[in-house]
Amino acid sequence: MLDKNGIAKRIAQEVKNGYYVNLGIGIPTLVANFVRDDIEVEFQSENGILGMGPFPTETQVDADLINAGKQTITALPGASFFDSALSFGMIRGQHVDLTILGAMEVAQDGNIANWKIPGKMVKGMGGAMDLVGSAKNIIVAMMHTNKAGQSKLLKSCSLPLTGVKCVTKIVTNLAVLDIVDGQFKLIERAPGVSVEEIKKATEGDLIVEGDVPEMKF
């Protein structure tokens, strides 16, 4: 079973040379730490930077330089700053190659819910609806089950949706799954996790074909 860093590390393998990548808050932010350094990748943060670098040193900290999670960051050589309209123009216009974000629920039709629990929690969707509404390639990073032990991979979402038929891949603490023809297809198992355990933790329909390999790091 993977921890958050493990999930991020596995997702980092999906980041290819030449990709512009938008990382959501939480586990996705960790992905940047594990991307191979022999490939060219740029991170976009939707508040208005392309070419986002690591956290600053104490002396580099600048209130005018933060990421979408409101964390202080740095800008790499070759970075650029821009306004919110152009930033979402990049996203809406499909210039960003890969979006990695968290979720409360994912359904086997590719629907995703991650912004609201009616009557309880209302954070807002931020840029998530724009991202999932336009991105060609969306990977969800999350735990396979919630704190109550219930599956987050469902036949259909019960929470208010963030987007419809948009998720292409899910990486959890237990597995890598693709959305194929309205079902979850098991691609890889986390180290030491059995197909049975994944089946048990998945409420939606799960396709298991042949021997499912374990993730390689």
Binding site: S45, E46, N47, G48, I49, P54, F55, P56, T57, E58, V61, D62, A63, D64, L65, I66, N67, A68, G69, K70, Q71, T72, I73, A75, F81, F82, D83, S84, A85, S87, F88, I91, R92, N111, W115, K116, G119, K120, M121, V122, K123, G124, M125, G126, G127, A128, M129, D130, G133, S134, P160, L161, T162, G163, V164, K165
Partner: protein
């Protein structure tokens, strides 16, 4: 050049009134119009509708207006940093219209540019799309969104000149340029105010035509919400 300078935040906001709609630049606490917000608190302007991506934190930014219950309605994309906001919202004291961040930016930009409405895929199939026109383009459904209307836009820029030309810094730029000229009156506070002609005309982010009033802000706290540093 047409001079846009006013002497103080007080002069800049002298005609703000209860019940008005304001746009406020900023993302999180970065690039927010601190001086204008303080003046709105001072003047105790009530029943405000705010168009702002975030709602500040409990004791800073728009949180200062929320605490005094000056805000009637918030139009935002993300409000997860403010406990008082969430309380007022869940109790029904505060009207809230949550909309996708890119749609929020584009609705500002549309108002600035005289585009009354546009189609976007963001929010299709969600509650954001309820009651809105849906139309397919290239087989993909989009929803129709409209330009915002507002009385004042309160903007924070880094540098400005007396003609109202503006330059923003880093990610403090965010919504600020898109809100300039998107309201009836645009009020800008800057850290540094220079004479017209001192800024390179090739590197001005927002031309003065979109600005009605500009002043040097008396102080900027520029609070950092999540200070994260390398080990």
């Amino acid at each position: 050049m047409i001079t846009k300078t006013v002497n103080s935040v007080s002069e800049a906001l002298e005609d703000v009134q209860d019940g008005m709609t304001f746009m406020l630049g900023g993302f999180g606490l970065s690039g927010i119009p601190e001086n204008a917000i303080a003046e709105l608190v001072n003047r105790n302007i009530k029943d405000i509708t705010c168009i702002s991506n975030n709602a500040g934190v409990d004791d800073f930014g728009l949180g200062l207006l929320l605490k005094k219950k000056q805000i009637k309605k918030m139009i935002s994309s993300y409000v997860g940093e403010n406990a008082e906001f969430e309380r007022q919202m869940l109790s029904g004291e505060l009207e809230v219209d949550l909309i996708p961040q890119g749609t929020l930016a584009e609705r500002c930009r549309a108002a600035q540019n005289g585009v009354p409405a546009f189609f976007t895929p963001a929010g299709y199939g969600t509650e954001v799309a309820e009651g809105k026109e849906v139309r397919e383009f290239d087989g993909k459904p989009h929803i129709l969104e409209h330009a915002f209307k507002a009385d004042f836009a309160f903007i924070k820029a880094w540098k400005g000149d007396t003609a109202g030309n503006l330059i923003f810094k880093g990610t403090a730029r965010n919504f600020n340029p898109n809100m300039c000229g998107a309201a009836k009156i645009t009020v800008v506070e800057v850290e540094e105010l220079v004479e017209a002609g001192e800024l390179d005309p090739n590197f001005i982010h927002i031309p003065g035509v979109f600005v009605q009033r500009i002043f040097k802000g008396e102080s900027f706290e520029k609070r950092i919400e999540k200070r994260t540093v390398k080990d």
